[in-house]
Assembly symmetry: C2
Homo-oligomer: 637 residues x 2
Amino acid sequence: MTTQEQLNQWQELAQQLRIDSIRATTVAGSGHPTSSMSSADLMAVLLSKYLHYDFDHPDNPNNDRFILSKGHAAPLLYSMYKAAGVISDQELLSLRQLGSRLEGHPTPVFPWVDVATGSLGQGLPIGVGVALAGKYLDQLPYNIWVLLGDSETAEGSIWEAFDHASHYSLDNLIAIIDVNRLGQRGQTELGWNTQAYANRAKAFGWQAIEIDGHNLTEIDQAFSAAVAVNDRPTVIIAKTKKGKGVKTLEDIGGWHGKALKAEQEQQAIAELGGERHITIAVDKPESQSQPAVLGVPQPLQLPTYKKDQKVATRRAYGDALLALGTSQPDVIVLDAEVSNSTYAEDFAEAFPERYFEMYIAEQQMIAAAVGLQVRKYKPFASTFAAFLTRAYDFVRMAAVSRANIKLVGSHAGVSIGQDGASQMGLEDLAAFRAVWNSTVLYPSDANQTAKLVAQMSDAYGKQSDRTGIVYLRTTRESTPVIYSSEEIFPIGGSKTLHRSHEDQATVIGAGITLHEALKAYERLKNEGIKVRVIDAYSVKPIDVQTLRQAAKDTNGNLIVVEDHWLEGGLGDAVLDAFAGNSSTHPYKGSQLQIIKLAVRDMPTSGTPEELLHAAKIDADAIVETVKLQVRQLVGVS
Amino acid sequence: MTTQEQLNQWQELAQQLRIDSIRATTVAGSGHPTSSMSSADLMAVLLSKYLHYDFDHPDNPNNDRFILSKGHAAPLLYSMYKAAGVISDQELLSLRQLGSRLEGHPTPVFPWVDVATGSLGQGLPIGVGVALAGKYLDQLPYNIWVLLGDSETAEGSIWEAFDHASHYSLDNLIAIIDVNRLGQRGQTELGWNTQAYANRAKAFGWQAIEIDGHNLTEIDQAFSAAVAVNDRPTVIIAKTKKGKGVKTLEDIGGWHGKALKAEQEQQAIAELGGERHITIAVDKPESQSQPAVLGVPQPLQLPTYKKDQKVATRRAYGDALLALGTSQPDVIVLDAEVSNSTYAEDFAEAFPERYFEMYIAEQQMIAAAVGLQVRKYKPFASTFAAFLTRAYDFVRMAAVSRANIKLVGSHAGVSIGQDGASQMGLEDLAAFRAVWNSTVLYPSDANQTAKLVAQMSDAYGKQSDRTGIVYLRTTRESTPVIYSSEEIFPIGGSKTLHRSHEDQATVIGAGITLHEALKAYERLKNEGIKVRVIDAYSVKPIDVQTLRQAAKDTNGNLIVVEDHWLEGGLGDAVLDAFAGNSSTHPYKGSQLQIIKLAVRDMPTSGTPEELLHAAKIDADAIVETVKLQVRQLVGVS
């Protein structure tokens, strides 16, 4: 039974959260006070009674986790931090200023923010990832609390999360939907029809509790019921008013994302009972347990392949992942129901407790990976390269979260053959290059794949750990092993497979096209034309030095060939190696003539060979282009 | 009441569809016979009794529409075409061969295929778009039938479709879920729990009917009930068996996406009762009505702006869209609940019957645009540039569908200011450049924006119609009008704003950075350094000729400055203008030194000016870079 005193304290705290949200946004001149105010009562009770969090030790594995899915309510979050005594009032008032930790939407520059939010519909699916870690990996009793806006439930990714949380019985996951009825531009789809939300959630297997989100007793009871349930996730559907507590704002349209002016601010603060100076001691977690031990690290024994054996790089990925999993108990694998194509299935069979099937829900898969790395696991997530485009916004936001995740796209390019264009990843290199702090790898043989997979996961010691988004592109078709298993392949490097003093041009390939380049080399050699052949397996960062040297050595004649659209892929990466930017000088050397061979027409079905030929990215096209270039038949433009 | 004779005919047809799906895939050596076989009974009844389609006139506006959301069941679709008498048995057996119309997954190379499928979870949301057209624009009584697999209901986009179809009371939309229990790699999440599907669908406001998908009478009754309902969409949840009818395949794992070998094929055909040669006359639509007339075309009166007035390009987009809507009654507008930020709201107010609010569901928004253009409307869809990444797979597939859609991303780049990184579109140019047959536009002033918006929609006559995906990037901040309203801005062109015989370098900008380039020009001129300034408003296609000439004229000194990540955007587009490809020769001229100024560190909150400066893409950075370059302080690498 809640005492009146408690209720009064919560009420006071809620008013402070409202006032501080208003104050911070008024000083900033922008931001979201009204979306903060609707959730203030919910957060006051959460912070005072239910959240168990050691603010001095954000890495305490027993901490509850709180994710502000409605990231635009950042002023509320920062006001909670002030109430918890971890930021000063002065810092609170630095909201949205250059250099402040208080950005317009939360980012992990704060030690208590695990993930960036602000692209709606992402907090709950990320919460699913953290909850998977808590229940199945850490095996610790912490809860994951996620505060959502009502508008964001229109995002399909929210329903992927509802689906997966139920499938995995995530009773440690508690979603709170702030149903304040008003979206950015008017009423939401469902308005205050909290029953419609509840019916949907129940149909997806959740406990659903409808409450008045400004009734502190109802909030208390709902949180109690959420914590008590032990077979399914809970969603609390809280009917609220945007701008609650201030008559000129409350449930009134046109106030989304608007700060109050100074006079309005003073009036609002007065109406809310004036400034408070409450600091509360947030409960620390009771449990002092350590995360479950998932295994004992062992020396890494990568698979090796004999030269000339034919092995698909996706097959080698599966083998290497299994080896990595054996060596590193913190490697966790996700796949979007194609594990028998990506070959994640071998890991899944060997380590079922560290494999999570994400079914055909790529957004949830990436979000789960982000959630898992919050708890310091090393997630590898795979599907067809084409289908990773489904989750591009999640990858973009993962970068803002400074998340360390490893993504693998199989079935890249026209060389997949008969399945046709819908299954061909032809934009993945462009998409992943344009992600902040990303690494993009594209191996051409099985030994190289294994070595790169190992580097994706810090196998060579902390110093070489790849942070950020690391993307590996694999090939469907079997290709000959060309490297010895002794070779090393540093990220940022390349391999020069043929080099002589008579090289008249340089052919740069990666993945499937490297094999076409090698075929072209032999044919050209037979015709007396020597070319340099470079394997650009590290697309980002690209090996600038080797490429510039090759240009100097081969009369500036460069041909890049890739199984990808003409834009944004390996060809553009090679061009970029010759440009300057704010930290690199442009190339200064011989006249450059770079020719990009890439896919330009919409592919169809056909055999891999037919399609490589039709796209003019096979050995025939390379031979022809080299001849044109070195014989100076390329005209002056 | 269904007669026994009808049932027998349907049964015979269903067996033929199964046999033909097997025959085609066996000849191809790959494909999906078993996923075709589970749906054969459903399709036999649909084709025989419920689908009203004039195969001779696929453009008949009264035609029902059929979308194979489970695109891998393409052999079934092609077998239906054979049964309908529109393709020969010989063509059927060309499945998956180079040059055949029968690709591994359906594409609109067939006149009867409206949209490509094969990326799961897209057929139903596209169906929502066609249904919106049918009910609210065409106002014709046709139905939209969508056949889904059960696995693809894990995609959030399916639930965006369930949500929107219900919100818009799309009683002309009928979804059929083939619940064959087996996904690619094992059992689906919900198995044969058809009730779980039904509960979810009902909670989203649909009529849901559970049936045995091999019971022809139940199928008939369900289709009848679906056609009869007139207040909501219907989903038929059909419990089926994968590989139905052949003992060695039926409900047996490991058969996904596998063709039968020749002996297996013969045995299966025998078990299915041997080859049939049934051709059926598919009913034509009864209605001979024409689509509703939405308005009378009028001459286009674009908004005009006075020089030096400060107008955001997003504001000009809203104005131009309103003008376009007034002129062209077939322009339809969609927005993802940010119409007051993108300024699509002015169109929405003027033409509410041609505006569809898509709420925060970007995937559904793009899918609806694809559906609307199936019915020859001209959809414009807008949201923040950052959030279009949410729908990248839908844009990718729209290109495979050869769809003509116009997309607008506002709030691009760090120049949005205080909201922070989550709201900044910094990868949109890279993403849209890497879309087949796309056009990418990025205006810098209001008059230019208006002229480009007009060209997006064929305002200058059929010859200049932009087909494919056309993307326009707009800016949040107000910027000075620099062009007269008389100027023209051809797609593929550029504007040279400053040019002299003494130009020592060329600065290329677009959008917000063009204004920084102009400021830099003035400052450099005061210091005695003349630079050429080019507005590259057409990012794809880029103005190769003007850029190459500028390089020749300005000692090869080029500086590209953009409010976008370093990879894949304007900088890479400019680099590409100097490369060759299979149809263009590389640049041959003076030594090139191209420097790319772009966003490299993760941005934070701050004022637009502060953030442009911090990213080193403002006038200061341009001035400094030009000086380094023209003074030859740029080192030899």
